[in-house]
Structures are given as C-alpha cells and as structure tokens.
Amino acid sequence: MSAPRINWGWWAMTGVLGALMVFTLFPFYWALVSSFTPDAALFRDPSLWPREIILDHYRALFDERDFFTPIRNSLIVAGTTTLFCLTVGTLAAYALARLEFRGKAAIMAFILAVTMFPQISIVSPLYLLLRSLRLIDTYPGLIMPYMTFAMPLTVWVLTGSIRQIPRDLEEAAHVDGATRRQSFTRILLPLAVPSLATTGILTFIYCWNEFLFALSFTLGPERQTVPVAIALFRGQYQVPWGQILAAAVIATAPVAAMVLLFQRRIVQGLTAGAVKG
C-alpha cells in the first residue's frame, strides 16, 4: 500500500495559472467595480468589493455625453477595416501560398517591412497626405491608414495557414471537376475559417484600440473613436474616473464577447482528419 501521493505538478500548474489569471484579470475587475461606485467613494475608501452599486456613470455616458457616436464611429472604422483586410488579405495570401511567381519572397519581406515603421514617425506625413486628399476627419481617413498597418498581419497569418491546408484537397477538387475559383470558395475558404476568424478578431481589436491615428486624423466628436473620446473625458480641473471606467468597460465588452464567441471556432482543429489519421 502506498500513501496517496500529492500531485505537486498539478498544484504548481494550478497555482501559476491562478496567479496569472488574477494578474491579468484584476485591472478589468477593478475597472468594473469602480464603474459602479460613486466618485466620492472611489477616493474616500476604495474597496475591493462593491459596497453600493449605482448606474450613474453609465447613465451619464449616454445622457450627459453622447457616447453613442464614438461607439458607432469605432464600429464603422474597425468593422470596415477588418472586412477589407480579410478580403484583400485572403486573396493575397492565396496567391502567396499557392501560386508560383517571381519575387514572392521579396513581396513577403516588403509586406512585413511596412510594420517596421514606428507609427509616430509617419503621423505627420500621413496627416499632410490625408489633408491634401481631403480625408481628415472622415472614415476613409482612418480606415486606409489602419489597413496599411493591419494588412501585414492578415497576410502573414493567412499565408501560413493556407500553406498548412493540404494541396491534395484542391487537386482532388480539380480532378472532381472544380475550377480554380470553385476549389477556392468550396474547399479552401471553409477550411481557412478558423484562421480567418482569428485574424479578423486581431485586426478588429487593433483598430478598436488604436489611439494615435484616431486622435491625429479626427477633429471633433463627430468622427472620434472610443479611445479618443474616453481620453478627452478629462476636463481641466477634474478627471471623471467613474465615467472613464464605465466607458472602458463598455469598450472592452464587444471585444471580449467576440473572443468568447469565436473561441471554439479558433481552437477547433477543423482540418483534423483531412488526410491520413
């Protein structure tokens, strides 16, 4: 008979994961709790547990301020950018992964090089460019710069994942009678859905959170996105922390919801069993 052994490995793992979770989730928890706490209580005796829950901050966001507009702006800008990125990115990735043409490696390197520029270094030239195109304070004025920054990620991730889809599947489809376009839409695209979802979410999050361009290329509340709007909450003499945190919670919600929604899709190994098992 042996004494029941303690599984140290399991406990260590659980401990580390738990600590990591507290570390990453605490700020969000703190923001959530604070957004329901009256401003006065926030500074007098901050507490880990909400003592009284009020919805004042949330009400103020939509009654006193027009928080709908920045949300709408962010949705339009981030959504459109994501859509364009996925469309163009998928086609580019297909070509890079499947077709033979000269200078493929150079193109891949060039696409990556675009991301090397620090954003701040191109704000001024971009501003001048957008101004001469009369695109300052417009949606396209944000969508186009976002695309240049988000596209490399899309193209690289999608190229990698398309390369992993066995070529045999498309060849089988060709022999079965499918044209190149049909084998792309009927075979390749469905199999690429998990990586499309992943890149789509990443692109959306990037655009949703982007601050510098959004601040520089918009002029007034009409076209401001959520991060810019929140940053401009603070007045000269006071910082409305309650409202800021309530806005932050609202801004985080759609992103968190999306990740949770697509998580299964992302993790699911859709290609499992495609070829020999």
């Binding site: 066995p166 045999d168 599947l169 060849e171 089988a172 489809a173 060709h174 022999v175 079965d176 009678g177 499918a178 044209t179 049909q182 009927r186 075979i187 469905p190 199999l191 859709l270 290609t271 499992a272 069993g273 495609a274 070829v275 020999k276 098992g277």
Partner: protein, 361 residues
Amino acid sequence: MARIALEHVEKVYPNGYVAARDLSLDVADGELLVLVGPSGSGKSTILRLMAGLEPVTGGVIRIGERDVTDLPPQQRDIAMVFQNYALYPHMTVRENLGFGLTIRKQPVVVVDQRVRTVAASLGLDALLDRKPAQLSGGQRQRVALGRAIVREPLAFLFDEPLSNLDAQLRVETRVELSRLHRKLGATMVYVTHDQSEALTLGDRIAVLNEGVLQQIATPMQLYHQPANKFVAGFIGSPAMNFLEGVIRREGPSNVRTFRGIDLALDVPLDREAPGRVFLGVRPQHLEVVGETATGDGTLRGEVGVVEPMGNEQIVYVTLSGGDRLVAVAPPQQQVAPGDTVAIRVRLEGAHIFDAETGARL
C-alpha cells in the same frame, strides 16, 4: 470508359530534374495498368500528368480520342484516388461522395440517388452523415474510392491508395479493387512502389526507373522474360541474385564458361561473347545442397542468416569469392548460420545481362 495514350511525353522541371523522358505508353480501354518503380522513378508524376495536375513539357496525352494535353484537370473527366485520400474535411461523407456531381450541376435527385447506390455497394450507408475525421483509415479509403466511382469517369487514376492501410486491410482492399475493376470494366492506372501489389493487380505492368520506361508487359512476362537487369531485380521477391563475371567461348560447341571455372553455361547467345556480364538467378532457382556436392553449376559459401517463412526458408549465403546470394530452401531442410554449403544453380531459370547496358542477352 476510354483508352489513355501517352505519346513521347516529357516532363522536365525548371530545376532540370527529369521526371519523364520520351515516354510512350498505351492503356487499353478497360485495362488496369500498374505503374511501378522505386521512389523517384517518376511514376506518381506520370499519373499527375495524366490527371492534368502538372503540365507536360513535351509530347501528347490522349484520353479516349481527345487530345487533353492542354486541358485542365476539371475538363479531362477522370477520377483520382490520392495516397492520403484527400477527403474534404468540412463535408460529410455524403457531400464528399456527391461533390464531383454537385460541382457539375447535376440535379439534386440524381446526385442523391447515385451517392446512395455507390455508398451501398461500398458498405458506407451508415456513415453518410459522418465527417472524415470520424472515420477509420479503411473507411476513409472506401469514401475516396466511392468519390471516384460516383462520377462514372472515363478512367480512374490511383496514387498508391493502399500505402496508408495496415497489412491485412491492404490485402483485403487489393482483392476488392481487383473485383471492382472487373465489375466496372473501367480503365484504371494504378501507381505503386510495391512489386507484389503490381503483380497481383495489373493486367499489364509498366516498370519505370528514373523517368524512363523499362518494360511494359504482363506480370508473367515481366517475371520470366525481364527486358533488362533493372526489371529483373525489381520484380520478384526475394530479389534476383546477380553475379558479375566474364563469359567466354570454350570448346568447339556452344558451351560458354562463366568466370572460367565456376559455371559451365550452355546458354545460346545471339551475338559473340560480349565480355563482362551479369548472371541473374532468382532465389527459387538456387538449390542449397550438401557441402560435398560437386559438378557443373555449383558454388560454395557460408550461410549468414536463415529466415524461416513457414512454407520456405530464405537463406543468405556469402560465397568464397565475397559475392552474396539469396536462396530459397524447402522448410524441412536443415540449414543453420555458419554452415558451409554448396549451392547449385539451376541454369534453366537463369538470365544473362550485358554488364554495360543491362539488357538481357
């Protein structure tokens, strides 16, 4: 159904690698032709050329009477079974089977009926709503086969379809394929590197090496009248033994001596003695006899390894000259590693190959 003809087909890759050189062969209507060769012999490439998955760099391919050389795969009306099955993972078995018909805009009723018929004949009825990931290897193989049959194509191409199955299933499926071929009366081209698979399945077999067709013949012809040393060594198990030596005329009659003293051959030669040759003898034509035996056609050596196979023993012998031979002995014979034995060559089953060209003399 249709015949397939390759006329002087050539496939050279941009990097200079030659996968097929001046290749001409004809697959008769309803014939099962096996393409066999070691890896790198170009057999799979030739299949892909027939399918249209790769363009030829020279020559003409015909399916039926149609020149399909420049047609893409989807217009050639052939079906292909891939080595790894290439089932569409996001579709059910039903959708996999029907894909070729659906994409050709066949009416739903027709597709459904054909899928059902084929599924029933392959024992897939119960699996129609499963995804490939939920199937066993053998079941996937049958779906891949079914997907080809459903379309009723002009010809079937098989790219080593059995290589991912375990040994027992492979033999069963081989028999099933043979039966299927007879039932459908379809033109089939079958690629394999396994010579026993080739011999059992093929109406005719094309042996390839380094992109060059070595011989195309029936299994029996390949085995008994190999065109050259490569074919002789590739077909048959265990492989044929080769002894290198010099042949020369000795005496007034047509007696020729191999290596001067070792073997007296009474083999008619078409031309004058060519000098260096290989003597090819199948293990089945070597007899392990007692140490004391003497006489024409007897070699001496030491037994290295004995593999008991049940119905026979495979004996590996190292000759005194250093050559290695493989012989087949009856199961009851007493042979053990380390024994010194004499080997009698039954010359009626021997072949002589030109040492330079490899051609059979």
